[in-house]
Amino acid sequence: MSIIRVSRASIGLALGLSAMSGAAYAQDCTTKIGAVLPTSVDWGRPIAETAQFAVDQVNAAGGAAGCQIEMVLRDTQVDPKVGVDAAKALVDLEGVKVLLGAVSSGVSMPILTSVTVPSGVMQMSCCSSSTAFTGLSEEGKTNGLWYRTFATTGVQSAVGAKVAADKGYKSIAILYKNDDWGQDMARLIAADFAAVGVEVTASVAINDAQPNYRAEVTDALSGQPEALYLALYPAEGTAAVREWLSLGGTQNMILANSLKSDEFRDNVGLQYLGSALGTDTASPRSESADAFRAAYQDRFEAEPNGPGLANSYDAAMLALLAMEAAGKDASGADVAAAMSRVTDPAGTPVSADTAGFVAAKEVLAGGGTVMFQGATGDVRFDENGDVSAPAVIWSFSESGTEEIEYIPLSDVDAFIASLK
C-alpha cells in the first residue's frame, strides 16, 4: 500500500542536518532502541516508518543522551509468540533499554508481562488501547515501565457522543471492529450515547476480512437509525460503509479516528462522506502545532493520515526525550522515571521536530523540565501510563481532512465529567 517516498530534497536536507550535527556534537557512540511493530501488515508499516522518522529527527539534533540512536526494528506478524520472541531478542541480544511497541494489545501484553517488566525495560506503545493495561498497572504489576500514547478510548467515545448530541441525532447504530479496541469503544460509546439521550438501535461487531458484511449491515439498519457510528479500520470500514449506503443507510456518520485515512475517503468516495464527522485527539494550538505535519509532508509527500501515525511519532519522540533526560547509560527504569521531566505541564514547551529536540536538550541539561507538544497534543501521562489529550472534530475534504471544531483538554475533561 504505502511506499517509502523520500524526495531528493529531503535526503539532501537530512544529510545537511546530520553533517551539521556531526560538527556540533562529536559522537562516535550509538545507542540502540528496540521497536516491535507489525511491519508485515499494511497499516503497520507506516507506523514503523513514522517511528524511524522521529529517530532520524533526533539524530539530526545530535542524538539522545550523548549518542546517535539506532532503532532496531522487528516484525511481530501480529503473532504474540513472534512479537515476544523479537522483544526478548532485542532486550537480551541488542541490549535495548527502551522498547517501542507493539500495536495490538494482544501482543503488547505478553511482551510486558514476560519480557519488559522482568528485564526492567521501558515499553512504550503507540497504539495498544486495551483497558487491561490500566488494570495491570493499578495492580502494580507494570513497575511504572509502561506508557502508551494512544489516548484512552474514553476521550474518543465522549467526543463521539458530543457530535451526536450537537447534531441532534435521536437514534444511532454502532458498527465496531471485533477486537479489544472495538469492543471497548462499543461499550463506552453506547454508555455515552445513552448519557446524552441518543438511542442506540443496534451495536454490531464487524470481523476482519469477511467477503461481505451484508448480514451485519442489515442488522444495523433494521432499527432505522438516524445516524451511524463507526469504530472500524479502513479496509473493513470501506466494505461495511459501501454495503450500508447501497442498502439505503443514512449518510449521517460519526467516525472514530481509525477511519481518518485517505484510503477510506478514496474508496468510499468523497461525495458520500459530506455528512460524515470524525473525532480524534488533537494537536495543541501553539506556534509549533504544525511542526509534525509539515515535517511529515516534507518527508513522505503525504499527510499523516492513517491509524496510529501521530501516536507512533509521539511514542518514539517521548521515549528519546526521556532517554535524554535520564542521561547516558540509564537503565530502563531510569528512563521511565524521567518521563515526568519531559511531560511536565509546568515545563518549557518544546515542539515536535528537530529544533524542539535541540531546545529540550538545553533545558534538560540545565536541570529544567519540558512539556512535549506532540503530534497528538500536549501529552500528559497519568500514574498508569495512560494519556489524555485535547480533541478535534474533523471531516473529509478534497486534500485530506479538515478541522471542524477544536475542543481543549479542559473542555474534554469537563464534558467527560458531565457524562458521568
Binding site: S40, P80, V84, A86, K88, D92, G106, D180
Partner: protein, 323 residues
C-alpha cells in the same frame, strides 16, 4: 554473553512448548492418521483453562480460582481432553480432508467464542492477572526463566518417553494398523472408532498441556494466541521434522521455530535499511519457500518414520534401539 544465554533459554522454552504440541499432533496424525486441522483449539483450551483456574480474580469474567498450579495445569489438560472427546464423538466418523475441515471449523468457532464471550474469558482483551508459580521465591529474572525451562524440558522428555512407549507397544501397532487400513484392523476384531477416539483425546490432552505451559510462560492469553496461524505452524513443524517420528516432531519444532526467529533477527540485523520495513513480508516468503521445498524434495521429513516390521529376537531389539 549472559544476554545470549538468557535469550537462548527463552527461545528454547518456547521451542520446547511448541515441541510438546507437535508431539501431540504426531500421535494424532503421524501415528493414527487423524488429520486434526484444529490444533489451536485444544492448545487454546489448555491455555485458557489453566489461566482461568490458576489466576487471580478478574472483574467481568470467569476466573480467579487461584488453584495450586499443577492442578490448574492438569485442569487445562482435562478441559482440552473433554473438548476433544465431544469433538471426537461428533467428527471422527469423518475421514481425511473432511475431518480436517470439521476440526478447522471447531478451531475457528473456539477463537470466535473466546473473542466474543466476554463473561467467559474476557473477550478480545484476553485473560491476564495470572501469577507465575514460584515467582516470589525465584524472582522475575534469568533464574526464573532457567527454572521454568528446566520444568518445560522435563515435561517434554516425559511426554516423549510416554509416546515412545506407546509407539512400540501393541497399542501403537494398532494405531498404525488403523492408519494404514482400517477395514483390515476391523477384520481382526479391533474397534477402530474407539481407538481413533482414544488417540484423538490423548493427543489433544498433550496439546492442552502445551497450551497450559504457553499461557503460564506469558502469564496471558488472548484470542490472538489462538488464530489459525498456530495450527499451520505446528503442522509445518511436524511435516518438516517427519510425521510418525517423535524425534522428528521435536526436531521439527526446534528447526522451524529457530528458522522463524533467526530469519527475523538476521533480516533486522543484516538487511539493508530500505529492506528493513519489508522484513516481515520477506520472512513469510522465506519460510513459505522452505516448507514448499521440503514438501517437494523430502516429503517424509528430515527424520522419517521407521516402519518396524515385527521381527523376533535380536533383530527386533536392534531395530527398536535405532528408533
Amino acid at each position: 554473553m549472559i544476554g545470549v544465554i538468557s535469550y537462548l533459554v527463552f527461545f528454547a522454552t518456547t521451542a520446547s512448548i511448541l515441541a510438546i504440541a507437535v508431539l501431540g499432533l504426531n500421535l494424532q496424525w503421524g501415528n493414527t492418521g487423524l488429520f486434526n486441522g484444529g490444533v489451536v483449539a485444544f492448545f487454546g483450551a489448555g491455555a485458557y483453562a489453566t489461566l482461568i483456574l490458576g489466576g487471580t480474580a478478574q472483574a467481568g469474567h470467569l476466573g480467579g480460582y487461584g488453584i495450586f498450579y499443577p492442578l490448574a495445569l492438569l485442569g487445562g489438560m482435562v478441559v482440552a481432553g473433554l473438548m476433544a472427546w465431544i469433538v471426537g464423538l461428533l467428527t471422527l466418523r469423518l475421514r481425511h480432508d473432511y475431518l480436517a475441515i470439521a476440526t478447522f471449523g471447531v478451531a475457528v468457532a473456539f477463537e470466535n467464542l473466546m473473542r466474543n464471550a466476554e463473561w467467559l474469558a474476557g473477550g478480545a482483551k484476553g485473560v491476564r492477572g495470572f501469577e507465575r508459580p514460584l515467582r516470589t521465591a525465584l524472582g522475575d529474572g534469568f533464574i526464573y526463566n532457567l527454572a521454568f525451562f528446566a520444568v518445560v524440558l522435563l515435561i517434554l522428555i516425559l511426554t516423549y518417553l510416554f509416546l515412545q512407549r506407546i509407539v512400540v507397544s501393541p497399542f501403537g501397532r494398532l494405531l498404525r494398523a488403523i492408519r494404514e487400513d482400517e477395514e483390515a484392523a476391523q477384520s481382526l476384531g479391533k474397534n477402530p472408532a474407539r481407538i481413533r477416539l482414544i488417540a484423538f483425546i490423548t493427543g489433544s490432552v498433550i496439546l492442552g498441556l502445551a497450551g497450559g505451559l504457553y499461557g503460564t510462560f506469558y502469564a496471558f492469553v488472548s484470542p490472538q494466541d489462538v488464530l489459525p496461524t498456530l495450527t499451520f505452524q505446528i503442522w509445518a513443524m511436524l511435516i518438516v521434522g517427519g510425521a510418525g517420528n517423535n524425534r522428528g516432531a521435536i526436531f521439527g519444532a526446534f528447526l522451524i521455530w529457530g528458522a522463524w526467529t533467526a530469519s527475523g533477527w538476521a533480516l533486522s540485523r543484516f538487511a539493508p535499511v530500505e529492506v528493513q520495513l519489508y522484513t516481515g513480508s520477506v520472512q513469510f516468503i522465506l519460510i513459505g519457500s522452505v516448507i514448499v521445498g521440503m514438501l517437494m524434495w523430502r516429503p517424509q521429513g528430515f527424520l522419517p518414520e521407521h516402519l518396524v516390521v515385527s521381527h523376533k529376537g535380536k533383530t527386533k531389539r536392534k531395530q527398536q534401539g535405532e528408533y
